[in-house]
Every structure is written in structure tokens, then in C-alpha cells.
Amino acid sequence: MPDWGIIIPSVLNGLTTGALYALVALGLTLIYGVLHIINFAHGALLMVGLYAVYYLNAQFGLDPYVSLLIVPPVMFALGYALQRGIIGKAAHGRDENILLVTLGLAIVIENLSLYFFRSDTRIVDTPYSFKTVEFLGAFLPLPKVVAFFGALATAGLLWLLMTRTDLGRAIRALAKERKGASLVGIDIEHVFAMSFGLGIACLGVAACLLLPSYYVNPQVGHGFILIAFTIVVLGGMGSFIGALLGGLIIGVVEALGGLFLGESLGQIGIFVIFILVLIFRPTGLLGQKA
């Protein structure tokens, strides 16, 4: 007989973590949908965002949630510049080259931060770090609840942007048909860079929402990379709803896995999902043919 008094809090906790995973995966899937490449620097760029939030707090005393006004726009600019200045230029018309460049960038970013920040793990101390909210008999950490709703709101904003604005239309047009989009006068390079920037801005939001209940060190991206990849594969590459759904599923699986199998083996559940999806449904839950 399962003890619901333990399972329900665990599931709720998983959902809040899952929403953040979804946000990270959303950026990844957005970039994949338009550029048809996996951004291997995703985890490294999330780490950059986390350090930005950390230093804004440590140096200027800025609350991580106030950093929401600063970090996402800066990350957007960084993403735009990376795509325009390096990634796009390195393509030489071959997708493989983009893959290699994002991998190279990831390695550079990670190891430079190892060099500059050392491998110490740092946290941000906020007055609400240990506050909890009671819901369905479960006590949830306040920062995680905020993160949950923040992630959902960001996903909603992104959806509005994609469906209601000219930029969103241009991005979707480009995702469908590159040549056609350029023929109707869409500035391809600009829209590519905007999409990449948006994907990285999602990481900025995730970083601000994450840090009050999480930590940062130069390897922090690693943990997210595999999870974000699994979510994108699970949800279907390029699918928005798939990324959201996949994120929540993975969050819950991780929480339950940790509950029943213990912390270090808990992640195995994620890999089992990853391999099962790979073997039985490589296009993901909601994806089209790869």
C-alpha cells in the first residue's frame, strides 16, 4: 500500500522541478525547431546565466527575481551575438559544422569558468530560500513554487510571441521552409539569431528562477544537459507542448525515482526513459518524423 502522504509531496516537488527542466528544454527545442541543430552549448550557457545571477546578488545585492529584468535580456543579446558572430559564420552550409561549433563553445565556456570561478559550489542566500507553502498537505519550498509558475508564464509568453507577432511568424516560416522565407523578404540571418537569442533568454529566465533553490558551479550545466536532451527527445524534437509535457514527466520521474531508489540511482529512471523512447519511439511523444 503506497503511502500517499509521501508520494503526493514527491510528485508535487517533481512537478515544480519539471517546470524548470521544461523551460531549459523549451529553449533547446526552439533552437532545434528553427535551426535544425542541437545546441550543445545549452548547459554551459545556463551555467553562465546562473553565474550572472549569483554575481549580481553577491556584488550588488540584487534579488534573483529582480535579476529577471537584467539577466534574460543580456542572455538574449549573448545568444544573438553568438549565432550572428560565430555559429552562423562557421556553418559553411553544413549542419555538422554548427554541431561542432556549439560543442566547442560549450567546452570553452565550461573550462574558462572552471579557470576563473574555480570549482567551488556557490549558493545565493535569500530571506525566502527556506520558506514553504502548504498545498494538498505537502510543504513545498516557496522558490520552487515561484519557479513553477514563472516557468509556465514564460512558456505562455513564448507561445504568444510565436503565434501573435511578426517575429514569431517569421521564425515559424523559417522553420518550415528556409528558401521560401527568404523569398518573401525575411532576413534569414537576423531571424536565426533572434531565435537563438530567444532560446538562450529562456535559460536566463530559468537561471533567475532556479538559483534561490539551487546552486552554481562550473559543471552545473552537465546535470541539465542530459535531462534537457531527454525531454526534447521524449517530447519530440522541435515540439513546444512536447517539451513542456516532457519536462513535467521527467521531473516527476526523477522525484519518484529518488524516493524509491535513492538519490544516486534516482536518475536511472531518466535514462531508462531516454533509452526506451529511443528504441520504441525515437520521434518522441508529439514529434513528427525526424
Binding site: 532545434y32 535544425h36 541543430i37 542541437i38 550543445f40 560565430i86 559564420k89 562557421a90 559553411h92 553544413r94 549542419d95 555538422e96 559544422n97 554541431l99 561542432l100 561549433v101 560543442l103 566547442g104 563553445l105 560549450a106 567546452i107 570553452v108 565556456i109 565550461e110 573550462n111 574558462l112 569558468s113 572552471l114 579557470y115 570549482s119 562550473p218 552537465h222 544537459i225 542530459l226 536532451f229 531527454t230 527527445v233 524534437m237 544516486s264 540511482l265 536518475q267 536511472i268 535514462f271 531516454f274 533509452i275 529511443l278 528504441i279 525515437p282 520521434t283 525526424a290
Partner: protein, 326 residues
């Protein structure tokens, strides 16, 4: 045939090195260069000739390394058997990775992603099961002697890795002159066209990934025997995956001699920076990453393509291409 003659002459020349050079320092550099060329050539089989870019060759490398170590330390089995088993288990992992991706014709991003993820999965698994020594790692006891595949002098290791690299280079030479190699390159250049001509793309790619896995696995066994210590990060971490792909990309993708050139260049650069800045954590890998970006940006076809004439042609081509776009 001329290529084969050059290849054999080159390896014969390299084999003379430990006879004349008695400095352990220099022989060690030669060993590490051959080892890099071995890993690079393994990657080149799949990535250069097959066009399937793996970001997780550590999955094969680490499996070979751990097999050799676990066989000796936990099971007390002779390392020569471990050598064979390491190669074979790496092939098995490669076959599993290949089967689960190539079956659906997944390639490009997806393949890179899956290989990387497999390496990560294996890293975390090896970090949590007891027989690999988990996070503490596994230490192979020192026991010099040919029977225990350990050598008191560097030149023993030199000839071990030399033989492995020679085998890899010979296989790649054979690929350049065989039906299998031709089919593989056809799949790389245009999979649909290759299929239309009756090439079984799935089988050809499976062959390539298994060969690639074999030599990566052998490289792993060599690593285990040479350094006698493994932990999950060394075996399955990103450093090996990156070095494997960087070597042929620097040297020249899909060329027979590219990996040798690339390994030599990479080690010269790594050695040089080490002397200049010293061994600072993160710097050597950061340099590898920067090299990768720079190579793809400026010299996407590797050092092998680098000649003044080639450069001029490339510039002319690019100028024409830009005009074409405008």
C-alpha cells in the same frame, strides 16, 4: 598502393624511434601522439568516412578501459583476454548505439545527441555501481611483465599502441579501397542516392560504428594499461570524446593520414601551452574547445587541405559564393 607504401614506410620509420631516442619524455610524447592518432582514426572511420558525427566516443573508449581494468582487478582474468574483451564489449556498445539510431535513419543532430547521452549514462552508471570502484575509481596493481600487459620501459607501451594504431590505419586504408568503404562514403555524401543504387545504408553504417567502436575500445584498454587508473570521469567524461573528434578534424576529415597529422599538431599545441602557462585546471580543455571552433570557422577541411593554392581556391570560391547570394 602508393598510399599503402607510404603508410607502411611511415609506421616503420616511427617504429625506429625508441631505438634511437632514449629519453622517456620524448618516447612518452610519441606514445601519446600515436594514442591520439588511434582514437582519432577510430572516430574518423565513422565521422570522416561515414559522415556520422559522434559526440560520445567516450562510451566506447570507457567501456574498453573499464573492461580491461575490471577483468584484472575484480575477476583476476589475464589482461590479454581483457584486451580482446575490451575491444569486443566496445563493439557491443557501438552496435547497440548504432542499432537504436540508424534503424530509424536518425542522423546529424540526433545521432550526436544520442552518442553524447550514452556516454553520460555510462558515466553515471559507472559512478554508482560498486564493481567499477564507483567515484573512487579503480586502480590496476602494478605488475610488470608481458603476461600482465604492463611494461617496465616506455618502449613496450610504445609498441603496443604502435601496433594498435597501425591496425587502425591499415583498416582505414582498406576502407579506401574496398566496396564497404565506397558504400560508406556514398552514404555520407548522399544517403538517398546511395540507397537508390542498392547500398544497404543501415548495414554499412552499422559496420562503420562497430569498427570505430573497436578501435576506440582498444584505445581504452591501452589507456588503462598505461596509466593503471580509471575513474568515471576519465573513462566516460567528455575529454576523450572531444579529443577523438578534434584529432581528425584538425588533421583532415575522411583522409587516411589526417588523424596522424592532427594528433601530432594537437600534441604539439597542448605541449606548447603546457610549457607556457603550466598545468592550470581547465585551460587545456578550453584550448581544445577554442581550437575546435577555430578549425570549423577557418579551416573546415583540416590541415591536410592547408596549402597556399588550396587557400587561394577557397577564398576565390567563397567570393564567388557571396556574389552568388547577393
Amino acid at each position: 598502393m602508393r598510399q599503402l607504401a607510404i603508410l607502411i614506410a611511415l609506421f616503420a620509420l616511427i617504429a625506429l624511434l625508441p631505438l634511437f631516442v632514449h629519453s622517456d619524455y620524448l618516447v612518452n610524447i610519441a606514445i601519446m601522439t600515436l594514442y591520439g592518432a588511434l582514437l582519432g582514426q577510430a572516430w574518423n572511420i565513422l565521422g570522416g568516412y561515414g559522415g556520422q558525427f559522434s559526440f560520445g566516443h567516450a562510451a566506447f573508449f570507457g567501456t574498453g578501459a573499464y573492461t580491461a581494468a575490471v577483468f584484472q582487478v575484480q575477476l583476476g582474468i589475464n589482461p590479454w583476454i581483457g584486451l580482446a574483451a575490451g575491444g569486443l564489449l566496445a563493439v557491443a556498445v557501438a552496435a547497440f548505439v548504432g542499432f537504436s539510431t540508424f534503424r530509424y535513419g536518425l542522423r546529424g543532430s540526433y545521432f550526436a545527441l544520442v552518442t553524447l547521452a550514452f556516454a553520460e549514462v555510462l558515466r553515471i552508471l559507472s559512478n554508482s555501481v560498486p564493481f567499477t570502484g564507483a567515484g573512487v575509481g579503480i586502480l590496476i596493481p602494478l605488475k610488470h611483465g608481458i603476461a600482465s600487459l604492463q611494461f617496465a620501459s616506455k618502449s613496450g607501451y610504445f609498441f603496443l599502441v604502435w601496433a594498435m594504431a597501425l591496425a587502425a590505419f591499415l583498416v582505414v586504408w582498406w576502407m579506401g579501397h574496398s566496396r564497404f568503404g565506397a558504400s560508406l562514403m556514398a552514404v555520407r555524401d548522399n544517403e538517398d542516392a546511395a540507397r537508390a543504387l542498392g547500398v544497404d545504408a543501415f548495414r554499412v553504417k552499422m559496420g562503420a560504428i562497430m569498427l570505430s567502436g573497436l578501435f576506440s575500445g582498444l584505445g581504452g584498454v591501452f589507456y588503462a594499461q598505461y596509466f593503471l587508473y580509471l575513474d568515471p570521469y576519465i573513462a566516460y567524461g567528455p575529454a576523450n570524446s572531444v579529443e577523438s573528434l578534434l584529432v581528425p578534424i584538425i588533421g583532415g576529415l575522411g583522409t587516411l593520414f589526417g588523424p596522424l597529422l592532427g594528433a601530432a599538431a594537437l600534441h604539439a599545441i597542448a605541449q606548447g601551452t603546457n610549457e607556457l602557462i603550466g598545468d592550470v585546471p581547465g585551460i587545456s580543455l578550453a584550448l581544445y574547445g577554442a581550437l575546435l571552433v577555430a578549425m570549423v570557422l577557418f579551416l573546415p577541411r583540416g590541415l591536410a587541405s592547408f596549402s597556399l593554392r588550396g587557400l587561394r581556391q577557397r577564398l576565390a570560391l567563397e567570393a564567388r559564393g557571396k556574389r552568388g547570394h547577393a
